[in-house]
Symmetry: C2
C-alpha cells in the first residue's frame, strides 16, 4: 500500500488505487447496509471517546500540518481553519455523539400498498451504498462525513485537502480503531492515501463501484469534480441570496432580518448578498435599513436610485457594477437595488440569484404567496431570515451540506438524504399477465 | 432558425442553438411551474384530439422516415419500431389522455413542521424545471415524454433519433398547436431541430439552464450522455435480472415465474437473464423448470453441474462461458447456475447483476427476508416475477423509464419522480440567534 509520504507516481498506480478503494468500499457497503442501529451507534460512541482520549496527540499531529501550511505561505484565515484546538477536538467528539443520538433512517417504510392482484409492495429506505466525499482544508470534515455516512449505512471514501493530510490521517486511524473494536468492516470508512488530483480523477471514473460523489469546498473544486465525474455528483455551490422588501414592509422587521441575514455569519452560503426594495417604499425604508447595515460596517453597493436615497440620508455608498448583481461576497458587503414591483423582484432573483435562499418582508399575504410560489429557490422565506436554511434549523439534525442541486436532495442534506430506497415485493407465485 | 433539412454547421451555431433552447425552456419553466392542473390537462386533452385528427397526415409523414430508413438499410426490427400504424397513433393519443387523468404531483405537501421558535416550514413538491430527454428511434417517445413533463410542470427539450426526424417534427408541431390553443408557453416543449451529436454535446454543457437529462435508449447512447453531460443525468441502463430457486422452492411456482420472467417479453429490462438454483434442490427442480423453459424455446446456457442434470433429463443445453454471467441477452436465452447456498446466490447477484430486479422463490420466510435485505437491487421479489418492476404495475401510472440510478429516482420513474421540492418558510420577523 502506498504510504502517505511517498505519493503514488503513475496513472496506472492511480487507477489501481481507485479500483482497490472502490472494491473495498463496495464490499463493506453490502455488510454495512444490514448492520443494526445499535452496532453503528456503538462504533460512533467509541469513536467519540477515542477522539476525546487522543486530544493531545491529535493537536500534536496537527502542528505538522500547521507548520507545513505556514511554510507554504497559507493565509492566516486558512491556517485558522486548519487548526485543531482543544475546543474544536471536543466539538468533533460531541458532533459524533449527536449523530449517534439521531434516528437511523435505514429501514424506514416510505410507502406500502397492495395491488389489486394481491401483490404487496413496500418502498423502504436503504443506504445509497458507496459515497465519496471530496473536501478541502478543515480536518473536522473527516469526522463529520465519516459519522454521517456510517450512521446512514453507507461506506465512504474520504479525500481531504493536502493541507490537512497529517491531521486527516490521524483522524482516519481513530475511525479505523473504532470500527475494528466494535466489529464493523474496516473498509466502511477509507481515507484516500494521496491528495494527488490525478488519483482523484481515477476515483471519479469508478461509477461501477461508487454511487455518489459529494464535493464540499470552493467553487473550483466543485466544478472540477462535476466535470470529471462519471458518478452522480450532489453539488453544494454558492448562495447568492436576496432579501426583498415589499411596498408595505415594516422598517424594524426589515432592518432586523436584513442585518441578521447579512451580518450574523457573512461567510456562509445562506447569508444575504442582495437587498431589493420596492420603488414606492424605498424613500422610507432604505434610510432605516441602510443605517442598520452601515452600523454593522456593511458596505452598500447601490444602483443609482438606492445611492441617491441613501446619500441623501447621509450614508456612504459605492456604485454597483454589473457583476455586483451576481456576486457572492461572503463578506460585509451587500448590493442594493430599487425594483419597480414584486414581479420585477422575482424576476431579478430568478435571473441573478443561485436558487438557494430568498426572503420577502411584507405584511401582505397575497404578495408573500406570489413570492413563495414563483421564486424558484430551494428555500423561500416570508418574514424570516435566509440564515434559517440549515439542517439543524430545519430540525434534520447534522447535515452533510446544503445541496444546490434539484435532483435527490435540495437544500439541507441530512441522514435521510444520504439514503435511497428499494421496492420489496411479496407475491404468492404472481406472474405478469 | 435553422431548418431541419439544412443541419447546423459549425460549433458556434451548435452552442448558440443550445443557449437559445435552454433560455427559452428556462423561461417557459418558470411560467409552467405555476400553471393550474386544469390548464395543463386542457393542453393534454387538446393534444390527444389533435393526434387523433391528424392520424392520416402523421402516417403519411412517417412514410418519409420509413423510406429513408429502408434506403439506409435499417434492420426490419428497427423499421418496425419506427412505424406509426393507425393503432399506434390511437395508442399515443390514449396515453396522453391517461396522463391527463393522473393526479398532478405539483404542490403536494411532503412535510410540514413548526420549529420550537414558531417558524413554520412546509416541504412541497415542485417541478424540477427544465428536463432534456435524449432518445432513439420510436416516435411515440416524443409524445410520452412531452405529456409527462408537461403534466409535472417541467419544460422539456426533446432530442429524438435521426431515423424518426420527420415523424418527430410532425408530432412536435401538434404539441406546439395544443400549447398555443390552450394558452400555455410555446417553449414548454421544444424539439431540437437537429440530430447532430455535436449539437447534443453543446446542449449537455448548459447546466446553467437545464436541470436534468434523461437518456432513453441503448447503452451506447446512455454512456455518451453520461460522459458528456455537466447536467445531472438519470440513467436507465440495462437489467441483468436473476431468479433464485431456494432449496425448498415449489417446482410449479418456480416454473411459472421463471417462464413469465424470461418469456413474456424477453426484450425488456425487467426480464430474467439468469436462473440460480440451490445445490440441494437442483436435481429435482432443474429438470422441471428447464423443461418448461425449453418448451418455450429458451436456450439454456449452463454451468457444468446444471448441464449435467439437464442433460440427464434429456434437455438440450449449451455451456456457459464467463461472459454469460454478466450478459443482458434481451432474447430467449437464460444462463443457468447451481449455487451452494443462499449467501452464494446473493453474492452472485450483487456481483454479476445490474441491481435492477431480482427474485427468490421459496416458502421459507427467513430465507426470503435475508434475500430481500441483502440483494442490493432497486426491486427485490419474493415469489413474484421480476416483470412487475414497472410504473404501471406498481400503480404509479405512466412512467418515463426505470431508473438504474440510486439518486433521486430508483426503479420506475413516474410523475412524482419528475419533481423536486422546495421549503416554504413562514416567520413573524424570525432571525437566527
Amino acid at each position: 500500500m502506498p504510504s502517505a509520504t511517498a505519493p503514488i507516481a503513475s496513472t496506472d498506480d492511480h487507477a489501481a488505487l481507485a479500483l482497490r478503494l472502490g472494491r473495498a468500499a463496495r464490499a463493506a457497503s453490502l455488510v454495512l447496509a444490514n448492520v443494526p442501529t445499535e452496532r453503528k451507534n456503538a462504533a460512533l460512541l467509541r469513536l467519540a471517546a477515542l477522539i476525546d482520549e487522543s486530544a493531545a496527540a491529535l493537536a500534536e499531529t496537527n502542528t505538522r500540518d500547521l507548520a507545513a501550511g505556514a511554510e507554504a505561505g497559507l493565509a492566516p484565515a486558512m491556517l485558522d481553519r486548519l487548526k485543531l484546538t482543544p475546543a474544536r477536538i471536543a466539538q468533533m467528539a460531541e458532533g459524533v455523539r449527536q449523530v449517534a443520538a439521531l434516528p437511523d433512517p435505514v429501514g424506514d417504510e416510505l410507502e406500502r400498498f397492495t395491488r389489486p392482484d394481491g401483490l404487496e409492495i413496500r418502498k423502504v429506505r436503504v443506504p445509497i451504498g458507496v459515497i465519496a466525499i471530496i473536501y478541502e482544508s478543515r480536518p473536522n470534515v473527516t469526522i463529520d462525513c465519516a459519522a454521517l455516512c456510517l450512521k446512514s449505512g453507507n461506506a465512504s471514501i474520504l479525500r481531504g485537502g493536502k493541507e490537512a493530510f497529517h491531521s486527516n490521517t490521524a483522524l482516519a486511524a481513530l475511525i479505523a480503531r473504532a470500527l475494528a473494536e466494535t466489529g464493523l468492516p474496516a473498509d466502511a470508512v477509507q481515507l484516500m492515501p494521496t491528495t494527488d488530483r490525478a488519483a482523484l480523477t481515477e476515483l471519479l471514473k469508478r461509477d461501477d463501484l461508487i454511487h455518489c460523489v459529494i464535493p464540499r469546498g470552493g467553487e473550483g473544486l466543485i466544478r472540477f469534480v462535476a466535470q470529471n465525474s462519471r458518478i452522480p455528483v450532489i453539488k453544494h455551490y454558492k448562495g447568492v441570496c436576496s432579501i426583498y422588501l415589499h411596498r408595505d414592509a415594516d422598517a424594524a422587521m426589515a432592518s432586523a432580518i436584513a442585518v441578521n441575514a447579512k451580518v450574523q455569519r457573512p461567510s456562509v452560503c445562506n447569508a444575504a448578498e442582495k437587498l431589493l426594495v420596492h420603488r414606492d417604499a424605498a424613500p422610507s425604508l432604505l434610510p432605516v435599513v441602510g443605517r442598520a447595515l452601515a452600523e454593522k460596517k456593511v458596505e452598500l453597493r447601490c444602483d443609482p436610485e438606492a445611492a441617491r436615497i441613501l446619500t441623501a440620508a447621509g450614508l456612504a455608498t459605492k456604485a454597483a457594477t454589473e457583476t455586483d448583481w451576481d456576486e457572492e461576497y461572503l463578506d460585509l458587503i451587500i448590493a442594493v437595488k430599487v425594483v419597480d414591483d414584486l414581479p420585477a423582484a422575482v424576476d431579478f432573483i430568478n435571473t441573478h440569484g443561485s436558487a438557494h435562499s430568498d426572503a420577502i418582508i411584507t405584511g401582505d399575504a397575497a404578495a408573500a404567496e406570489h413570492f413563495l410560489n414563483t421564486v424558484d429557490s430551494a428555500a423561500v422565506f416570508w418574514n424570516a431570515s435566509t440564515r434559517f436554511n440549515d439542517g439543524f434549523e430545519f430540525g434534520l439534525g447534522a447535515e452533510i451540506g446544503i445541496s444546490t442541486d434539484r435532483l435527490h436532495a435540495r437544500g439541507p442534506m441530512g441522514l435521510r438524504e444520504l439514503c435511497t430506497y428499494k421496492f420489496r415485493v411479496v407475491g404468492r407465485g404472481h406472474v405478469r399477465g
